[in-house]
Symmetry: C2
């Protein structure tokens, strides 16, 4: 709130802004000459030369092979150096901690999963996470000093600015807990950013597979149902950080089904992996969760396929309204239940294309997640990288390097 904005977003200024612009340019991986950097950034050549020196010193930029000569000595080429630092990215679920170290392009260097009950509380879960971080650093011969930062996704609402969970329904003991403070203290003070798990999945999916598509809805269909919104290329967290909550939108025809939130007829109570597993069990095909539903569907169970397709239609009903309001370029369906094959997506498409305005669906794509199980890790890592390389934080990083 109170952030100064224009139609083109906040306008940063000062020397750091120029440095940030150069970094933004080279983050695409293509090496460039001084002249190219000047031309593409709009900065004066003398300024570019000065900023390049700063960035070389920090290690964020490196020399690469010489460019093609235009007669005289071939010009120097400069490229982003994703190996300058590492990021600890963690995707914490209801029953697991997944952690990875990535480079500054989000490439996974090493990763590990541990079974862990979120209900064990923040001390136990974050202790495990930090120990895992140290183990991973050791495995690739780096130290806490090499950490650019730490990104964490949690399975509940998080106040992103403070990194504290707010009234998370399945996380006893976590409400208001200072996650960044706790983690930073154990991992050498590295800047720690925390967000809801679906938000980081949305960011990861967007950055790795849909960077040119400005408006995205990412839907996670697993034990529960949630979504993350990308708006003009930026993660839209909303006023209380709870944007994307679609699991508790009421379906018109589901009024009889009670939901764990206390209401009846919520989308999640009807179309989630947990709801489908319960239904299948009741119909004589025992299923413990999303994975079993996916297994039954893949093995050709007609009952499972029918239920998955109807879940797609139910999700489509709620998405149709979101499509009319938000007019996204792409809807991505991820989460464990999306592994059930095309039946879920087909159900979503069927209803969205039928119910939304033709103009809003004209170029709309509805697809399965491409980042898959790593969406959260990519998102947690890139959230940290984008934050650290933005003008507001870059000064600190350069002074530190």
């Amino acid at each position: 709130m109170g952030e100064r904005t224009t139609d083109n977003g906040p306008v940063p200024a000062g020397p750091t802004a120029g440095t940030a612009v150069l970094l933004q340019l080279v983050r695409d991986g293509r090496p460039r000459t001084r002249a190219e950097l000047a031309a593409e950034s709009g900065l004066a050549r003398s300024t570019v030369a000065e900023r390049i020196d700063t960035l070389l010193t920090s290690g964020l930029l490196r020399h690469t092979d010489k460019g093609p000569s235009t007669g005289g000595r071939p010009p120097s080429l400069f490229a982003f150096n994703p190996a300058a630092r590492v990021v600890l990215a963690a995707d914490v679920g209801a029953t697991h901690v997944k952690a990875a170290l990535t480079d500054l392009s989000g490439q996974v260097l090493v990763e590990q999963n541990r079974a862990m009950d979120i209900a064990a509380g923040p001390d136990a879960v974050l202790g495990e996470l930090c120990a895992l971080g140290d183990t991973l650093l050791g495995e690739i011969g780096r130290t806490q000093r090499d950490l650019l930062g730490i990104g964490i996704g949690l399975p509940g609402p998080v106040e992103h600015a403070s990194g504290r969970p707010t009234n998370p329904p399945i996380m006893p003991g976590w409400d208001g807990f200072d996650v960044p403070g706790h983690v930073q203290e154990r991992l050498g003070g590295a800047a720690t950013l925390v967000d809801n798990d679906v938000n980081i999945m949305a960011l990861g999916e967007h950055r790795t597979h849909w960077p040119e598509w400005p408006h995205m809805i990412f839907v996670k269909v697993a034990t529960g149902i949630g979504s993350g919104l990308i708006c003009g290329g930026r993660l839209h967290r909303g006023s209380q950080g709870v944007a994307g909550d679609m699991g508790h939108v009421q379906l018109p025809h589901g009024a009889e089904v009670p939901c764990r939130c206390g209401n009846v007829g919520c989308l999640e109570a009807v179309a989630s992996g947990a709801a489908l597993a319960a239904r299948l069990t009741g119909l004589g095909s025992p299923a413990g969760g999303s994975a079993d539903v996916v297994g039954l569907a893949r093995s050709g169970s007609v009952t499972a396929l029918k239920l998955v397709r109807q879940a797609g239609r139910d999700i489509g009903e709620v998405l149709a309204t979101a499509v009319s309001f938000f007019n996204p370029s792409v809807i991505v369906i991820g989460g464990a239940l999306s592994q059930a094959g095309e039946h879920l997506i087909a159900g979503v498409r069927e209803v969205v294309y039928q119910r939304s305005l033709p103009l809003a669906t004209q170029n709309l794509r509805i697809v399965q997640s491409r980042a898959g199980e790593r969406a959260g890790i990519y998102g947690a890592a890139l959230m940290v990288v984008e934050h650290a390389l933005a003008p507001a934080q870059l000064d600190a990083l350069l002074a530190d390097g």
Copy 2:
């Protein structure tokens, strides 16, 4: 699409960025010294001095009274000069053209309304609009050369980038018409921006009354029903420019009512001013449109009040889903029917607070439009100002001045 974005938005660079930053600072109206401008912008004092000269020459900045002395000579104060140029802002409805000249702060200098049927086609309507623009310029002793630009709101979907209407349902002859080209040719080549009327109302309402509230849904309830979204302080137009279309979301209980779009049970077919007028007429209280419904409600007709309240509830049903997805800070209800008093808003509140997640409604405000009938004019004007003063366009403006 393809715009380079980070979590903090596009990063502009070069000398213009610094100039744009200074302009952004002073646009709040408060005069500042050179030292304050340097401190607040993060720019070097030598750079600030240079940019101030450029801005004084362009007329966008002006000297004001001296500041308080700190011992020696009192320092010079610089302030934004909203009188440097004027903007022609037009709000074109189904049956009227409303046009105003504003200064660069969006203040209305002079305005006029003309009855005009949008179905008369673009030549006739835009001809009238341009003639009106010349008349207004003459009235305040300015010329086409003084125009910073022209902002136009139209009652249908518009591709904002090209300024062309796309399949507008109530605008025969307008589909794909080059509105900016047509207007620019008649008004001295002034840059012309076109958008949907509800979008400019949303922008105008936000900028004049809710600038510190980053996420807003503005709902226009009149003959039809539409909305405009402000996301992170920026107007969210969506992928095809049709974001905010809520009029044709289907209500669960309205399935019997046919809509002009060809579907049944659309919100607009049930809860718009036109729908209520038809219902009242059928019940023996003849009403020709929103204004008559408002008149009946204000005169205390219990039937009208009941219908208005139920319309609020119906709108609330659709908004509840939008609240769950978008998690806005404020919902503003505008348009002719919002003049019916608190009954419409009360109906909206009743359902949204009941149906949305507690966390999403915790700090949510649902209020009547404060910009009222001028929301569109403010929005059209400020759309032009923000565009012209942004780094990408500012060079042209300064060269021109």
